[in-house]
Amino acid sequence: MLAMNYRGPYRVRAQQRPMPEIQHPEDAIVRVTRTCICGSDLHLYHGMVPDTRVGQTFGHEFVGIVEEVGPLVTNVKVGDHVLVPFNIACGKCNFCKQGLYGNCHESNPMATAVGGIFGYSHTAGGFDGGQAEYVRVPYANVGPTVIPADMDPDDAVMLTDVVPTGYQAAEMGGIKEGDTVVIFGAGPIGIMAARCAWFFGPSRVIVIDHIDYRLEFAKNYAKCEVYNFKSLEDPVVFLKKTTDWYGADVCIDCVGCEAEGNTLQTLTGRVGLLQAGAGTALQWAINSVKKGGIVSIVGVYGPPFNLIPIGNVLNKGITIRANQASVKRLLPRLIEHVQSGRLKPSELITHRIPLEEVADAYNIFSSKLDNCIKTVLIPSSK
């Protein structure tokens, strides 16, 4: 079968690999029909995530058709069209039982700090991902969800990560009616977080980034205020000023480890790898939120350490809330939002590229060429 193959930082290719096999009685094999490149895949692509081994197939956002199931699989059957949450969850451990499907204790032996994720380095369990014609899906009784018959598969593939992560980013903000919400990052997650923030009743949603075409997209899609931080002398002072010198009620970091905007953070986090990426967005979030405010983090950072103003977190009484999205918990509500037409996540998709051209697809997304917002890879045989 054809699959994406990581060869090193900024180098990927499509190549033939052996078909995945059932390795556990609760496994399924899914024939992939659509798979996205996620912004967090770029952290792997840029060599930022430790234990990313040459030869691995990335991809944690995919939908497809169940091709084969293990003897203990009862929840899905061969032929079902399913969307597969990016987190691999057993459904039985205490974390899964309490709804923390992104923190499963039985899907990743290689690190305790993160649950298993499809195609996301060996730090996240060493699973091959869905940027392939076929993929092994563990715990098929838990994750895979049959796509409603009336749902556009492009909407369905966005429900595997982008929509739940954006929604949970807003949900974790504990947004109250009338709040001012600031979102750092106008990538697909930031745009979706801005759109979903409105579900919780704020009076202002502000998105900060430095890429004009993305800010324009966010403004139109999420009906929010947008600002390019490169045109602001100091984004923190600007945000204080625009909130009556009070601070935002909620700040959301949708950027993660490859932030721009602070030379020291960039040099130590992205160039020198002395910290787990540049913590610029998180620093701005902490310093822009009001006293007693909430900072929600869905931007991805590496596992070791980051330079952030933790003293300000204490002195301002900030609550920090963060997690990988618990896709399975959120799916019923999000499917409702999509089916009702309140959310149309497929509108974020700007590029549809054959899996064979995966190297160009990664470059387009990574280099933000051709006004790219979101890229979907289509395996050719479908």
Partner: protein
């Protein structure tokens, strides 16, 4: 563990101010109290370990399922094995893993050549997309390269 207090409920005031609604992880977490059962839950059957799996030393066993994508091998594999002797809390876990990743890139190139496939690095970097959507970048890179070569050449000449 010998210091663990077992009759904690007899401590004056134990649990008096507990507020089950004060759950900062709500609604992400549906608190059930199961956390106090630790790892005593019904596990799925164990996936057979058919390849070398490097396990975090912060857990007692491998998880019930795991990926078998790329088992450790070669020099990078030796470094990874060493890294996994140290906990996720330590730089000596993560930095060697990044070093192993970089070495692994060269192992990948050697492996490709051994299999008779000389990697097309330009294609793997998505050169075609840059050429189509940002040709100015390529022109800039070519000019920068030419200038750099000329500067280095002139430096060598002046040293002679």
């Amino acid at each position: 563990m010998e210091n663990q207090i077992t009759d904690y409920k007899s401590i004056p005031g134990w649990g008096m101010d507990a507020d089950p609604d004060n759950e900062p992880t709500y609604p992400m977490k549906n608190y059930t109290g199961d956390d106090h059962n630790r790892i005593n839950y019904e596990r799925s059957v164990q996936q057979p370990v058919t390849v070398e799996i490097l396990k975090s030393n912060e857990r007692p066993t491998v998880s019930a399922v795991f990926g078998t994508s790329v088992p450790p091998s070669g020099l990078s594999g030796a470094i990874r094995r060493w890294a996994f002797k140290h906990s996720e809390d330590r730089y000596r876990h993560w930095l060697p893993l990044i070093l192993a990743d970089r070495i692994n890139v060269y192992e990948g190139i050697i492996d490709d050549i051994k299999k008779g496939h000389f990697p097309n690095i330009l294609a793997e970097r998505g050169f075609k997309a840059t050429l189509k959507h940002n040709p100015k970048k390529i022109i800039r890179q070519v000019i920068t390269g030419v200038v750099a070569v000329m500067v280095i050449k002139s430096m060598f000449k002046s040293n002679k």
